[in-house]
Symmetry: D3
């Protein structure tokens, strides 16, 4: 049932536009950044063939609409679509942004990890992964606690990658989260979207873990590039919380049992410490002011 | 992977003493009360064959030691062993106690369920099940929210039984617990042990759900007979938190990944409303005073 | 709109049984203890005329059913009905109990009031009034803060009586409660019923004030005799929260506006310090153990 | 005792400068925005007669000083007085700002209201009213819970207007606020002033309701244009909490009873979600950075 | 400035009645239990000389009044005075009670200490010391964190005794308490008095440490025999919080500086786990019910 | 043991560069601002002698490295070193900045102090001192509560200075902080560093006092110029928490007792109200956006 582990960079190399569209739609490509990267690559394929605005708009809209709850996808495509005429290498630029952002976040975030620490994480986030691997490369000695993250067991991806890199990993069911977090020193998690009031949309289970970290006064950071900021939330837009296939939870439930499978949940900024972005580390409610300076186009 | 659903009463009918011992040890018999009932039945088989104290003590000790974190098992066997000489039908008496206790708890607990409510539950507890079925039999109309309860998916047992009885059930992964509890009106959960300071040992995940219920001011009751009270905790004894087979969590984890599988966790009395027992409904820290009156032998 | 201020002792003197019944039903007699006293007096009138059990049972049931949410009424009448054959002066005994209880509570509670304090109170409770007047009689110098207590403005009764006794009173709307409580040193409030888990039913608004007192770490005591304990709650019974006449809130609301007028609300024991009763001062969840010793008949 | 319901736009049409001054002073014109609009209209009357700076300064100062706790009034008049020479239609511009701001806020805020919700509100705010009416016009089906808001019963104005628009309203005394909020999905309230640290000054009772919403994790937004921001608070200025006529609370209190009638109270930013302004939705502590960009003149 | 370290048993051996009286009064004998033991020994000296009730009452009253905030002193002397006629060895009995109680508490409490733990403690309590030494004698390996406890540096006594016994001790100023407690696994503290509602009077600083332990969900137990229970608190009596010599804080403060030197503070039962007594481990609010059974004379 | 009290302005007048270096290193010069001022003066001495960049860099690095946890020192020296070529009076400018900042903070902060208040403070901060003295000069009547602040008793400096100025001071041990804060109206404290997420580094004990102030809803402000902002924290840098000489805590501890002497601790922004800076009063997490506008050079 576990999703197959692929590296984003290699994966799309041999895929067609339509294959990418399908894979994003089917949740075969997962993780906010991987989706954005794949969609930009798909858009780039079309850009190579045509500069016709009307035609490109069709692809732009198709790609943007493949998944709800994905501001990085929307911001990246908007940037491409609005700038392709002036900037011939706009897709490359965006892909470079994602790559370099992750490197910066890894660098900033790794400073929060010290020898002897227990770093807690939930689900799988390629950005959190990058932070932790960076600290390991710097020679730091620490342990990772991670949840299995039902229903798709993405925590197993995290466990595999980190243990392969030589980091001791301790793994447990999601319900053991509060109990294990009590002993941790740092909680790092990913991000699917950030709102103008500093709320964070992330994998279901995040709020309860963040609340526990807050109770125990353990620093809790979301690791994310700032393109996850959804500027439409300034004007009241609310990210849709995707309900996924009930079969992921229970293949054949008895009659009369309705399955809920919310992929994400909203976590308020008062229960976590900050966001580690390529622009620096801030409380999430301040991000709107930082982005206004750094990426004014995002707020238009 | 789901444990097979059997009714305690029928199950042991055709089992030998040794088969019961094995099934308790292997976790094939689950649930504090089912275990106690099965062990008493096994002890009764021996009682029918001998009244020799020394010999019976051997069986008593064997049965008592089959599982940690099980005061009901220990209290029930102690009662049998200490009274079999005076009371020829001591095992029957104990089995009757368990049966009648559950009926009383069902009756008291059902009064907390009203039309239109959403009743939240975690894992599978035959006592919680009895309370909810009682309310249904009284013609009340309500919905049940329940978690799947990894790693053994006992929440599916709850879902099956309740939906079969015509109660609408909504089911989700454990991580969605806090999100769904927000909309519930009542949280009912089981109990494996109660300490003298009113702490409760129950299925892993209980503390985080109880904390959420407390945050949202939703009444949260443990449904349990009072023989789960562990009188040794008065003198500092600490219930062992059973770590179960790591394979339940992840069959073949990668090298370097250690699996934790704590079956239970401790919940402090300040985050739940009370316990619904056969003696009545009380704050758990008061139970020691109530039990002293009702079952003075338990405190010796 | 303010209810007329009468003293319980004088009031019923000239009333007939039927007049008392009517006045209790119409909320002309208010306050848990005043209601119980009046009902016992009514029952005494009948006792003087007949000892016929069947006939008396009719009056007993009629009086008991006049008001929901009134365990003192029910406990007092039960005591009379169950003992009138053995104890000819049972009604006197009950009236004496109420009188002496109030004196004891006044004595114990007054010890919590010290020179220079600000004592906060909500609504009108004759028991709280007795505590405060006792402290005044002892020569203590303190100030009282009190809410007006919509919709019936019973806070004005409190203000009148206390200011008449020479105690400086500062009075404000209910919404100013949290703001004013911040400066207070002690919060005293009444009680309509106590449950076996230590929950308290009292005038609407009590929970929010108790929560504020807890936040500010201001001691908060309910002043009440222990006959407000409702032993039926041990077995799951839930006090009904009386909804009163919507006209008390808004005489002629516009079409489409529904008025709620809940008289009481439930306050959990974790947000107040204790109960001051004639048996002493305890955390409310312990009261069940204290009552079992003091008034075993109440638990039958 | 209820203040007469008038629409701001129509009301001042036939009033003289002096009548407006009097009506603001006497609290006949209520609500931060209505006051600002009325004062700007009054200033416009004078502007039509003279451009003499010294003379206009007199009116400017008179109008500005009519009420404490009113930054919208002060910001609006300052804008008029400082720009009337360059901008002949400065008053029109300000009135247009207020009108368009409310429309924007209504549009942004209405996105927070969904079918099936219970929207809780306190007191009367023409901006909150606009948000709720907008959602209704969009065809959304929801219910409103609202407090009566003693001492002036402005909650009745809210109830009247919303029920007239076909929205089901449930109405109750202020003390029932916490109890009813427990069942709500969204809390919308107005605003009289915002400080540089993100504190909000609003109708007495707001803090206790916001605290309850925070406890129950119910989103709580203040709906307000950003001219309520008081830039002087950056430099330590503290809004005065107006004490109003004690007779509003109790016409003829007994001797020895002092009446407090605070109109407003301060709510800290950690207990509410954000502010919905014409510039967008933000955490209140971030507003200072947003305003610096949008209205630099306000910070001078 | 540090008080000299003496063992209670040896100390009083060579002292006269008057010397003991003086040493208790002058705070040369410290710690609730040491004071009670010394006073009982002094009373015993008089008992050996006379059985005259009137004369003994004088000594009884003198000894009882030597220190405020000392229920153990008062309970022990009351027991002696009320029983000396029936029980010739009443003083011996009381001294034996104190000795055996401490042994029992040490035994029960030591079960809470496990290998690898950090045990946090504040001030010096001979009972806490006994618990920790017991665990050490059982061969457990653990570390102790302890505060210096200004103004009398009693934490240094704790540090000396425990380090001498081979337990690693880490020591810091009181202000570092919250920071260090974050890493601890267990908080053990003493007790000067317990009230009927479960409040605890203990060394100044206890509430803030208990609150921190509660925030971090670290078990926090008071170690104390149950004679610290003050039965007069049932009837409203409030323990006086002794203000000690200002010179202990600052020998020669500048003019205009007033020194406060409160020795104790009150900690509410909602911020700690329980009390470890010779009768067992309970939530403090339940202790009144336990004592009623165990020592009925204490409640008369 | 108390550090000698000197005024910064006079002190360095007669010191050589090397003497200043030594005094900063030895903690003879204390307080973030005093250290920065002294270092700038030392750098100015060198500036008077040479303009050679390489040589000055050596001094710059030496001075910058004298103390950890001191962004004001680093920001001030960076400004000098980066601008000395363009601005001949760069050191004067910096010293003027510190002087004028303090005056502005005193002016803004004094507005928070009103007649009748109790102002609580911890340790000694020359900025807090300036705020309080300003309020006194304005003729306000208020009291100060202050802690002694072990191990260096800097609270005594505060007590001396303020009482000398005629302000009534009440002084107590650090452990009495929570108890005394309960009665205070305002908590003012200093600052050693501010991070990009709004965390504050200040004297050990600050977090526990801020938490208490938050619990009791008492406004708590850090008084500090904004050069304490550490821009490197944006990129993950973590201020080192200086461990000072263990002898400050206990001159000759027994063998086996390890002394911790952390000088500072980190306080998260959710437990205090704001920072009072020369730029105005803000929530600390917003400061990064304010500084970006005011001192863009600081963020490079």
């Amino acid at each position: 049932m576990l999703i197959k582990l692929t590296t984003a960079s290699s994966m799309e190399k041999n895929l067609t536009y339509n294959q990418i569209v399908k894979k994003i739609k089917n949740l075969e490509i997962q993780g906010a950044q991987k989706i954005a990267v794949a969609a930009v690559k798909a858009f780039e394929m079309k850009l190579k063939k045509t500069k016709n605005k009307k035609e490109l708009k069709k692809y732009f809209n198709e790609l943007k609409g493949l998944r709800a709850t994905e501001p990085a996808l929307r911001n990246a495509l908007s940037y491409c679509f609005n700038n392709y005429e002036k900037k011939p290498h706009v897709a490359k630029e965006v892909l470079k942004f994602f790559k370099e952002s992750k490197e910066k976040i890894a660098e900033y975030g790794a400073k929060k990890i010290h020898d002897g620490m227990i770093v807690f994480t939930h689900c799988h986030s390629s950005t959190v992964e990058a932070v932790i691997l960076k600290a390991k490369k710097q020679g730091k000695k620490f342990k990772v606690y991670n949840t299995e993250t039902r229903p798709k067991f993405q925590g197993r991806i995290t466990a595999k990658i980190l243990s392969k890199a030589g980091i001791p990993v301790e793994h447990f069911v999601d319900s053991a989260g509060r109990k294990m977090l009590r002993k941790a020193d740092l909680f790092l998690f990913g991000c699917d979207a950030i709102t103008s009031e500093g709320k964070l949309i992330n994998k279901i289970g995040t709020e309860m873990l963040a609340q526990a970290a807050q109770d125990f006064r353990i620093p809790a950071y979301s690791c994310t590039n700032s393109w996850k900021f959804n500027a439409e939330t300034i004007y009241g837009f609310e990210e849709e919380i995707e309900e996924r296939d009930p079969k992921e939870v229970w293949e054949k439930p008895p009659k009369g049992v309705k399955i809920h499978n919310p992929a994400f949940e909203i976590t308020a900024p008062d229960v976590f410490t900050g966001v580690i972005t390529e622009l620096g580390i801030f409380k999430p409610e301040t991000l709107v002011a930082i982005i206004k300076d750094a990426y004014p186009w995002m707020l238009k």
